[in-house]
Amino acid sequence: MILQDFIALAPMLDLGAFCIITMLAIAFKRHHATIAVFAFMSCLLTMATLPWAATATPRTVTALLVVDGYALLYMGLVLSATMIVIGLSYRYLKIHFREQEGIEEYYLLLLLATFGGLVLTVSAHFVSFFLGLELLGLSLCSLIGYVRTRRHPMEAAVKYLLLSISASAFLLFGMALLYFESGSMTFRGVGMVVKQVQTVPGLWLGGVVLVFVGVALKLGLAPFHMWIPDVYQGAPAPITAYIATVSKGALVALLLRFVTDVGALELPSLVHLFGLLAVASMVTGNVLALFQQNVKRLLAYSSIAHVGYLLVALLAGGAVAAEAVTFYVIVYCAMTLGAFGVVTVYSREGGDAERFEDYRGLFWTRPWLAAILALSLLSLAGIPVTAGFIGKFYAIAAGVDAGLWWLVSALIGNSIIGLYYYLRLIVTLFGEEPAPATLPQGQAAQATQTAGWTTVCSLGLVASIILMVGVYPEPLMELIRDSVRNLLMVAVQRP
């Protein structure tokens, strides 16, 4: 290892060190606000090392990690999403826990999960892939069950644990098969096999499919989506936001690199298979979301559909596809954080505000909150002036460019179905507000949780990102373009 390697790895080293320091700090003195600020600063300082690390990229650090512009971009995404989640969490935890209940570990777990996410973005090898995934998954497990006074979080945590285990099992088996065929654990080494032989070995194909299934399980792609609604509903709202953004973002980063390096899209059979999954995902997510009366479940099903859209962009292949996927992920993170952020702010002591009823007439009582939720939902639906529209535009453009007409038409049909349930929630926001008398005694006082300045800042930031990217997306596009070029460059430089 030389100095350049350390520079390239700076963000990870930085965050790793901060994890340890945070742990020691908690051991030394328990103080909620301090630790929260500490965690936030850890992410911020890690962010600050990204430009520095960029001077040393693209660089392969050991066989395990590849640090390039693409990875740094996703790191930035993961870190900023984490910061927003921390901002949202502070107030939420204060309401759900009394003092002296030991809530500081929450932030430590969050940092560890983020560290896992960072590892995923740079991994180019099955070992780092697996380590990152497990670090992320196990931390998330504890986080999901963190509000231990409630029943749902525990249930969700167990479900997530089972899911993680089965995903790992699939992954390990797939990795074993790939190793058997190629004798290599690096993504590129695995890809080399197909380049050299005439016919693709069946076991190799099986291996790729199994790895893909493992990732799909974590991403919540149909038909591996069963856990999503339960976990989304059960987990505390900020953690749901975290799963939907950081965990998915990091996994997509990994998936994109895996698919590019292995060259999976050069095989028609795999493209067909993935295409089928994309359509299944879109249809399942959207159709099931139609019948939801629970906001968190609705967003969960919509997330299944969105992974399907993402896959359409991915399948287009080539430079536009990488751009489109990255853009879509970033945009998706922003709008998901917005939606779950509002759910977080609006939740009260007994539980999160989940039912449609809770949101009836919100626009007339708390206009800003409702406006942000409406904006996020419109963005999820892909209506212009919001970032979601540009994201969908990118996905459709990638699909059209590649001539994937069936997938594009499936995407459009599903967007229309999706629109229906987003509208249903939006129209609820503008509905007649319930008369105060109908609320049970005491509930009115709970319902008016005020947004602290941390939440205001987080939500304000998210909303302005959604609007700004929706109106003037050029800077983000350029940034992504530059970063993705690096990904392709590394891919092209294969020996």
Binding site: F393, A397, M477
Partner: protein, 517 residues
């Protein structure tokens, strides 16, 4: 820059109107009126400019403005104004004012937010009429949807939820089809020249193979016709028009439908010359079908607002007929119809809204003999019913007459069918008058007559109707260059039977028949 002002004034006034709600109930209304009045003046100023250069509308514009927006995709903020856009922007600003006046007393809840939505929607409509970058066009095309949806969903009548959903889902489906077609065109441009571009002029220059052109044309056609609407894409119309609050109904029927027609005129017809002549008979058939279908259903309605909604569907059929007939005469007629129908439908919806506000019913079976109760409203209703049925001397007559006259040479059979619609228009319009204002009074009811402001507005619309009916030259000469450009390259007539009707100078025509009434 002046073009951006046209869009930005209502858009920036929108949040102001919302905030204005805090100061006074009327502040929001006055801010909205002020913004639209400024817009109207600005548009009139543009109208009064020298138009001797005769910009054809394709490649040359009266006013133009271009700034880079998303260079990565070859998208720019490109606005252009020609006669067609100018006329429609004037209509937009004017009908916007009418809509605000119409909701002056109707909307008492969340006044600021209501006007916020109105102004935003109008800003989007003006943007649609100005944008000549396809992406920007689509952007504005969608921008107007959300505020429109909220107008219906929040302030609408009993079934507002259902209606607003239907409206949004239908129009959005059409839009997404349009989006795919637009993206495809941009990529085709890239394949042809190596440069991605969404610009109108660039995309116009493409030569497509027939199959591609056919698909793209179909996508553009459906995208626009859903808004227009024509059968079989019309089912959202009656519900939406009926359930929307008066102001929104005026904007929906008077302006949003016109954006569909504008899209056909600006994009569908000129961009796909390869297939448009093959497709024209089908489109014209749909137009005639819309005319008859709308008219028949209008006759069967008991809900007065639904009747107006179906009559609107019927009249929009003439526009579809005119747009695809391929003669300058019919195209000019279609534009005239756009303006005249916008005015007459706006007025009718305003009257219907006034009736509903006074009697809390739209059921004509519970009305009757209202002439004595609200004489001002009744006389205005009679006037606009006559305008709607195409009484010579009023604007609608010029539009429908020109369309029928112009399309006869292209599709005689379809045109004859369509002209039956004019007869039926007389039936349902007069039946509406009879059942509502004449006959036996249902029960003795007292209600205040139209307010001075409302009456004045309707009077103004009536004056405009008479003006366009007697002297349509200003409108027609403004849009003439754009329409001429549409005819020349695009539509070789399938069988040119009467060269006379084409070569006949328009001015002669008008002087000859204007003297008849």
């Amino acid at each position: 820059m002046v073009l951006w002002l046209l869009i930005l004034i209502p858009m920036l006034a929108a949040p102001l109107a919302w905030i204005g709600q805090q100061w006074s109930r009327h502040a929001a209304r006055w801010i909205a009126v002020g913004a639209l009045a400024i817009d109207l003046c600005l548009a009139l100023l543009l109208w009064s400019q020298d138009r001797s250069a005769q910009p054809s509308g394709h490649g040359s514009w009266l006013f133009e403005s271009q700034t880079s927006w998303i260079p990565r995709w070859g998208i720019s903020l490109h606005l252009g104004l020609d006669g067609l856009s100018l006329v429609l922007i004037l209509l937009t600003a004017f009908l916007g004012l009418v809509a605000i006046v119409a909701s002056w007393t109707e909307i008492q809840r969340q006044v600021g937010f209501f006007h916020y939505n109105i102004l935003l929607a109008l800003g989007g409509v003006i943007g649609v009429f100005l944008a000549i970058d396809l992406f920007l066009f689509f952007f504005f095309w969608e921008v107007m949807l959300v505020p429109m949806y909220l107008l219906i969903a929040v302030w609408g009548h009993t079934h507002r939820r259902y209606a607003s959903f239907k409206f949004f889902l239908f129009t959005q489906s059409g839009s997404l089809l349009l989006l795919v077609a637009i993206i495809t065109l941009a990529f085709l441009h890239q394949h042809a020249t190596g440069k991605l571009s969404f610009d109108y002029a660039d995309v116009m220059g493409l030569t497509l193979n027939k199959e591609m052109a056919w698909w793209l044309m179909l996508a553009f056609f459906i995208g626009f016709v859903v808004k227009l609407p024509a059968p079989p894409f019309h089912t959202w119309l009656p519900d939406t028009y009926t359930e929307a609050p008066t102001g929104a109904s005026i904007i929906l029927a008077g302006l949003l439908a016109k954006t569909g027609a504008y899209g056909l005129l600006r994009f569908t017809v000129p961009m796909f010359p390869e297939v448009i002549s093959d497709f024209a008979p089908i489109a014209m058939g749909l137009g005639a079908m819309g005319i008859l279908y709308g008219a028949v259903l209008a006759c069967a309605q008991t809900d007065i607002k639904r009747l107006v909604a179906y009559s609107s569907l019927s009249h929009m059929g003439f526009i579809l007929l005119g747009v695809f007939s391929g003669t300058e005469l019919a195209l000019q007629g279609a534009v005239m119809q756009l303006v005249a129908h916008g005015l007459s439908t706006g007025a009718l919806f305003m009257l219907v809204g006034a009736l509903y506000e006074r009697f809390q019913t739209r059921d004509m079976r519970q009305m009757g003999g209202l002439w004595g109760v609200i004489p001002r409203g009744a006389s205005m209703a009679l006037f606009f019913a006559c305008a709607s049925l195409g009484l010579p001397g009023l604007g609608n007559f010029i539009g429908e007459f020109l369309v029928l006259f112009g399309s006869y040479s292209a599709q005689p059979f379809v045109t004859i069918l369509a002209s039956i619609g004019m007869v039926m228009a007389a039936i349902y319009s007069l039946a509406m008058m009879q059942r509502t204002f004449f006959g036996r009074q249902h029960e003795t009811r007292l209600a205040p007559d139209l307010s001075n402001v409302a009456f004045g507005t309707l009077l103004l619309i009536a004056v405009l109707q008479v003006w366009f009916g007697l002297y349509p030259r200003p409108v027609l000469s403004t849009t003439k260059p754009a329409m001429e450009a549409l005819v020349q390259p695009a539509l070789p007539l399938p069988n040119l039977t009467h060269p006379l009707s084409e070569s006949l100078p328009l001015s002669n025509l008008f002087t000859s028949h204007v003297s008849t009434p």
